[in-house]
């Protein structure tokens, strides 16, 4: 750790009561260790921070010291990347307990996880792996979400995936699959607009129609991120969800469309690899905020909401 002028409070067992639990309907930024110190020093004007839950599952140490300080100044959203909700096997109960402990400690305004699997028979594969959309997988995912929401005592948000391939055995469209999960479990949705663009390009769907058909009433958060462009065996574009660059122009355009439909919605800038200097992230957040504000001006009915 570099030395810093910031003084830490007591690292303690007793969780403090944090203010501002609610995530405001504006832009937030994914919190990275590179920016811990600078955020406390400069107090940038962003709506909230989001962390990957698994990065704060150590027993103690600097990650918790920094997160506690930042959480005392900003609303926090917790984003899990390892619960493997789409796994056919049982949920990892130990991991669910770790999530419950983190939620108890930091009182995040939102908790989200992925429509994906990442663990199989005790091996963690460190990728958000796709699942076929069938009645069998739907029942399993719904059971897992029921278990998560019951244990955590709160609603979770489910994020739509970036997909690179399709399963020959799928019998549901992705949107019908997700809508049915919402209907069965009452979970909310995290709409990743970059994932909509990536999947739509890779699967040759119309991304605007995807958004229009999506169960938007359940959406409580949006993710924006950058992607890489490659090609498949046939030379067709194959976009990769890399989170290592600015949000693409095509994704900003889709975001404008999504916000026009949704009204002001908490929107996260995700940048997880090759993390840039803070001003780059802040500029992305300001761009998202400008779009959200413009939508509020043109939709007074929505802007007047709660």
């Amino acid at each position: 750790m570099a030395s810093t002028a910031i003084r830490f409070g007591e690292g303690g067992a007793r969780p403090p009561a944090f203010p501002d639990r609610r995530i405001p309907p504006r832009a937030g930024v994914g919190l990275k260790p590179e920016h811990w110190a600078g955020i406390l020093e400069t107090k940038p004007d962003v709506g909230f921070f989001e962390v990957h839950a698994e990065n704060y599952m150590g027993a103690g140490g600097p990650p918790h010291r920094w997160l506690a300080e930042i959480r005392s100044r900003y609303p926090l959203s917790l984003h899990g990347v390892g619960l493997s909700i789409g796994a056919d096997g049982p949920l990892d109960r130990d991991h669910l307990e770790r999530l419950a402990a983190l939620i108890g400690r930091y009182q995040p305004g939102l908790f989200s996880e992925h429509l994906a699997w990442s663990t199989h028979e005790g091996v963690f594969l460190d990728d958000l792996l796709p699942l076929p959309y069938t009645a069998q997988t739907l029942a399993r995912v719904a059971d897992h979400i029921d278990e998560v929401q019951e244990r955590l005592g709160r609603q979770m948000l489910l994020e739509n995936p970036s997909t690179y391939l399709a399963f020959a055995e799928s019998t549901f469209s992705e949107i019908d699959f997700i809508a049915e999960i919402v209907r069965r479990t009452g979970c909310g949705l995290l709409l990743d607009v970059n994932n909509v663009h990536v999947s739509s390009t890779n699967q040759q769907w119309d991304p605007v129609r995807y958004l229009d058909d999506y169960p938007l009433a359940a959406v409580q958060e949006i993710h924006l991120a950058g992607h890489a462009r490659e090609h498949d065996d046939e030379g067709r574009p194959l976009l990769i969800d890399t989170h290592d660059r600015p949000v693409d122009a095509s994704v900003w355009a889709l975001f404008v469309h999504a916000i026009a439909r949704l009204g002001a919605t908490p929107t996260l800038i995700e940048w997880d690899a090759g993390v840039p200097a803070w001003p780059v992230l802040q500029a992305e957040a300001e761009r998202a905020d400008a779009i959200i504000r413009a939508a509020q001006r043109t939709e007074p009915r929505r802007a007047a909401r709660g």
């Binding site: 830490f8 698994e54 150590g58 010291r65 390892g82 699997w117 594969l125 460190d126 069998q136 065996d233």
Partner: protein
């Protein structure tokens, strides 16, 4: 119809073994098989785990270079993938893997540098505890000092090396400047602890590793001193205790026998 469990088993096996054929029924938008699309996931798995190891072992990476490190880390990740999604815990088996990894044999100190980095990571994420200062330890009745048992900081780790592994590690972390090292200059024993926010690593004098190990095992101070004297007949308890107190190693003391 294929069961979902069988589908995931088949996919997981293919993800961890590049020699396996791409499972059937994974298709592109034309409903035809597309190996390049499955390769994205194979690459994600290997790259994700390799990146986790690269973040946790920066000195090893700097010593061997990016290409060598990625090949070695990938071999480890596919052979011993993590059992938990908490990747900050991943890498416990990497030092032993390096020790067995044939291409790394010309760098016999490399596994010990990896052990230091692993100990550093464990200390970084260890539970919080408040170290005792000299005043708190002065409260121990002088006539019972021999039988006192000292509780060690939960972040405390020790690494023993037959090489100057601490010197090599320091040269290869941020701010370090690599320079020639005489590998025959003797071993270094390393004490790693995080008394507050920062992880600290320091060399231990002869006898200190035995003292700390005996205290960690719940032995009395007298028995721990005997263990240290067995390693170094010139071992001085007062000097070593003062150094350990200064390092923030002790978090409590008691006069009852500690149960192992």
């Amino acid at each position: 119809m294929q069961r979902a469990a069988d589908r995931q088993r088949e996919l997981a096996a293919a993800l961890l073994d590049p020699a396996r054929a791409v499972p059937p029924g994974l298709v592109g938008p034309d409903r035809e098989p597309s190996p390049r699309r499955f390769a994205v996931h194979r690459n994600n798995v290997a790259a994700g785990l390799t990146n986790a190891l690269a973040a946790a072992f920066p000195a090893v990476r700097r010593i061997v270079g990016e290409d060598f490190f990625r090949a070695m880390a990938r071999a480890h990740a596919l052979a011993e993938p993590p059992a938990s999604p908490v990747l900050l815990d991943y890498g416990g088996g990497f030092p032993a893997f390096i020790a067995r990894f044939g291409p790394a044999a010309p760098l016999p100190y490399l596994a010990d540098v990896a052990r230091i980095e692993r100990a550093w990571s464990e200390a970084y994420h260890a539970p919080e505890a408040e170290p005792l200062g000299p005043a708190a330890l002065a409260a121990i009745p002088a006539d019972r000092l021999a039988e006192v048992r000292l509780a060690l900081h939960p972040s405390l780790r020790g690494v023993r090396s037959g090489f100057p592994a601490l010197t090599i590690w320091r040269m290869n972390v941020a701010g370090g400047v690599p320079a020639p090292v005489d590998l025959d200059s003797g071993g270094e024993d390393v004490l790693i602890v995080r008394p507050a926010a920062a992880v600290e690593a320091r060399a231990m004098p002869p006898g200190a590793p035995e003292l700390v190990a005996a205290l960690a095992a719940g032995q009395s101070l007298a028995d721990a001193m005997l263990a240290a004297l067995g390693a170094d007949p010139a071992f001085e308890l007062a000097v070593n205790l003062a150094a350990l107190i200064g390092a923030g190693v002790f978090v409590g003391w008691g006069l009852e026998r500690k149960r192992a």
